[in-house]
């Protein structure tokens, strides 16, 4: 599989072309989670995805307060 067809590389490439504050680290973490569980019969990743995003929001909020 080449970089062009590597899902994570594609995600980061798309992100770089968008006007967004979403950090690469968050995308990596979300992809990692989905990648590990993509073939699970019963996936319970939504809560974990939410937790990853909430953690970023909390951190940003904390940084803003500081």
């Amino acid at each position: 599989m080449t970089t062009k067809s590597n899902p994570l590389s594609v995600l980061l490439d798309v992100r770089s072309k968008m006007d967004t504050d979403v950090e690469d680290e968050l995308i990596k973490a979300c992809y990692q989670l989905q990648s590990v569980h993509q073939y699970d019969k019963d996936r319970h990743t939504m809560k974990q995805m939410q937790a990853l995003v909430e953690a970023v929001i909390e951190t940003n909020e904390g940084d803003a307060v500081l």
């Binding site: 798309v14 995308i27 989905q34 699970d40 929001i57």
Partner: protein, 660 residues
């Protein structure tokens, strides 16, 4: 992943315990399992599938019930247990997986899946794993979703042609499986989960907005859109369910019709013969009518033979008499003219008297003419009698009735022979399909046509509903953005959350399209490379991939080949499988059931040379018609790690034996 060993117990035709070891050598990586039709090649493939996933597949990829999986001989002897044990490795880890079913204690004679108890155990490097996470462990190594690309039935290779048909149900299913093999689900799941989380975040944002007088209007709109969205989503869910229900009905009818294909063909043949019979009978009736008409005047044709010469004689005689009469009249006229000259010897031209010496020759000529005239005897009575006879005989005419009757009889005889042949065939066909309810089959065909139309309508409704959802979501995004940017919403945690989820959903969504394009490019590249090795037609320039991963052959001039043979179809499908295996993120062994069925010897040779390079382990389940053990193996003998043969014990029992 590398397979090490499989132990089969009472699975389908394999009674008792039977063990197969897979090749471990890097270059001698091919295993051959020879078996005639109906001996258990597909059952071997199913044994492996069932061992991994607890699922054995029949036609239309339908699950085979457990009761049909337990060896019938063993069951008759009271042993209703069945198991598959698989040993394999992944990376540096060793796996031992064992799946077993047995009859529940209180059940005397199992009738349904629920009458069996299933148990599964997994050891990784000797350490037992608990039941609830076993399936996830297996899916990490050999995901079920991608199994069709490493456990595949060669007979189904033709299904890949559906990828070229836009909107084909089968094609959509295969496309989904291909994308699962290529890792697209990680992004699809990510997008879907962000979409769900965004929906919740919008709700929270709308609730926050309600508290702000300026934003209350937006909150209300957002709530209305939310209600509409939920309703549309429910509609879509219903439509998809209906669609799958109708598709299942179509599949069921297809199964039924497939089983009665021969009967249907015979029924069509029967209808054709019945029409032929009717046409023949009608032709016979016409010929009989014609025969009757001919017989009315046929007596004339019979008499005509005798009458015709007589009539000709009479006509000749009459003609001769007419000639004599004419000649007599001419003589009379001449005599009268000459007699006038004697009576009045003045030249009619110069009015001079004719000299006496010239009168004697005239008298002599009159005597000669009178002598002649006396000799010309004409009896008018005779002419009248002749005319009467001729008139009567002339009424006897021939229109070739005799010849035409013979021709008609010949035609009738041929048609009667044809009728006997048709009747015999009809009897035979009726006998062959006597036990089948052919009217029911025809009704099922009509029902299928109706269901297919219903499917098309449902597809249209699904498209409309999806469009509505898309439009609704856009409006929601717009209002969420308005709230986020407004003075009251800016900086609000709920707005930050909505913005973040919107961006994440958008990133995952756009990435899916971009990833698909890249994957298609890569699959096309690898498949073309494989195709150039496999095809015997070296002028082809390669393969071209479409949106559904369907591959078309491109010729030297860059034109797409419109039609291709079943053999070419199989070569293209094998190239696609190879392209997918090389592009896919999870490589593994390849197990192929009857992969060479439609190939000519040259293509078969190319495929056999190529297969060992397709995967780390290549397990071929073949019959001797596909690979001749004496002739075909030579070209890749050095790649064969192990050979087995399925021996027939009885119609319901087979044994796997190692062979040289």
């Amino acid at each position: 992943m590398k397979l090490k060993e499989m132990t089969i117990y009472n699975f389908m035709p394999y009674k008792g315990e039977q063990k197969v070891s897979f090749p471990q050598h890097d270059t001698q990586n091919v295993m051959l399992l020879f078996g005639d039709n109906m001996r258990g090649k597909t059952s071997f493939l199913n044994a492996m599938r069932w061992g991994f996933y607890g699922l054995a597949l029949g036609r239309h990829l339908r699950a085979i019930p457990r009761i049909n999986l337990v060896n019938i001989e063993a069951a008759t002897e009271g042993d209703w247990s069945m198991s598959i044990a698989l040993k394999f490795s992944d990376g540096d880890k060793g796996y031992e997986l064992r799946r077993r079913v047995e009859k529940k204690n209180h059940v005397s004679q199992p009738k349904a899946d629920a009458d069996f108890e299933e148990s599964i155990s997994l050891r990784i490097d000797g350490e037992a794993k608990s039941g609830d996470i076993i399936e996830n462990h297996i899916n990490q190594v050999v995901p079920e979703e991608i199994s069709r690309f490493f456990l595949f039935d060669g007979e189904l290779l033709q299904e890949y042609e559906n990828l070229l048909v836009e909107g084909s149900e089968q094609g959509d299913k295969i496309k989904k499986h291909i994308e699962q093999a290529l890792g697209v689900p990680a992004l699809i799941h990510g997008r879907d989960e962000f979409s769900g989380l965004l929906k919740d975040a919008r709700r929270v944002q709308a609730n926050d907005a309600k508290k702000n007088i300026e934003l209350k209007r937006f909150a209300e709109q957002q709530n209305q859109l939310e209600i509409k969205l939920t309703s549309s989503e429910n509609d879509l869910k219903d439509l998809l369910l209906q669609c799958s229900d109708v598709q299942m009905k179509v599949d069921d009818i297809d199964d039924e019709l497939k089983n009665t294909e021969a009967v249907q063909r015979k029924k069509v043949q029967l209808e054709g013969l019945s029409s032929e019979r009717k046409a023949t009978e009608s032709q016979l009736l016409s010929l009989e009518d014609e025969q009757r008409e001919l017989l009315k005047s046929a007596w004339q044709d019979v008499l005509y033979g005798g009458v015709a010469p007589l009539l000709r004689d009479l006509q000749a005689r009459r003609d001769s008499l007419h000639n004599v009469a004419s000649e007599k009249a001419v003589l009379n006229s001449k005599i009268q003219t000459l007699q006038k000259s004697l009576d009045d010897p003045t030249c009619p031209t110069c009015k001079q008297n004719i000299p006496d010496e010239n009168m004697q020759p005239i008298k002599d000529q009159i005597d000669v003419l009178k002598a002649e005239e006396e000799l010309s005897i004409v009896n008018p009575e005779e002419i009248r009698t002749l005319n009467e006879k001729i008139d009567k005989l002339s009424k006897i005419r021939s229109s070739g009735e005799g010849r035409r009757l013979l021709h008609n009889a010949d035609k009738q005889r041929k048609l009667q022979v044809q009728l006997i042949r048709v009747d015999t065939q009809l009897d035979e066909l009726e006998e062959e399909i006597r036990e089948y309810d052919t009217d029911h089959i025809m009704r099922q065909r009509e029902k299928r046509d109706r269901l297919v139309k219903q499917l098309a309508r449902l597809d249209g409704d699904i498209e409309t509903c999806s469009g509505k959802i898309g439009k609704n979501t856009k409006e929601q995004d717009h209002i969420a953005t308005l709230i986020s940017k407004s003075a009251g919403g800016q900086g609000q945690k709920s707005s930050i959350r909505v913005n973040l989820y919107q961006d994440l959903e958008s990133i995952f969504s756009k990435s899916i399209d971009q990833l698909r394009d890249s994957l298609r490019e890569e699959v096309e590249h690898y498949a073309t490379a494989a195709f150039s090795e496999l095809t015997t037609e070296k002028t082809y320039s390669g393969l071209q991939i479409n949106q559904n991963y369907g591959l078309s052959i491109v010729d030297q001039a860059g034109r797409v080949l419109k039609e291709r043979s079943a053999g070419a179809e199989q070569i293209v499908a094998l190239s696609l499988i190879d392209g997918l295996n090389r592009t896919a993120r999870k490589a593994g062994p390849v197990v192929m059931d009857t992969p060479l069925g439609r190939l000519d010897p040259k293509h078969r040779g190319n495929v056999l040379k190529y297969l060992p390079n397709m995967a780390e382990q290549v397990i071929l389940l073949v019959h001797e018609g596909e690979i001749d053990p004496d002739r075909d193996i030579e070209s890749f003998a050095e790649r064969i790690g192990v050979r087995y043969r399925i021996e027939r014990i009885s119609a319901t029992e087979s044994r796997i034996e190692k062979s040289n």
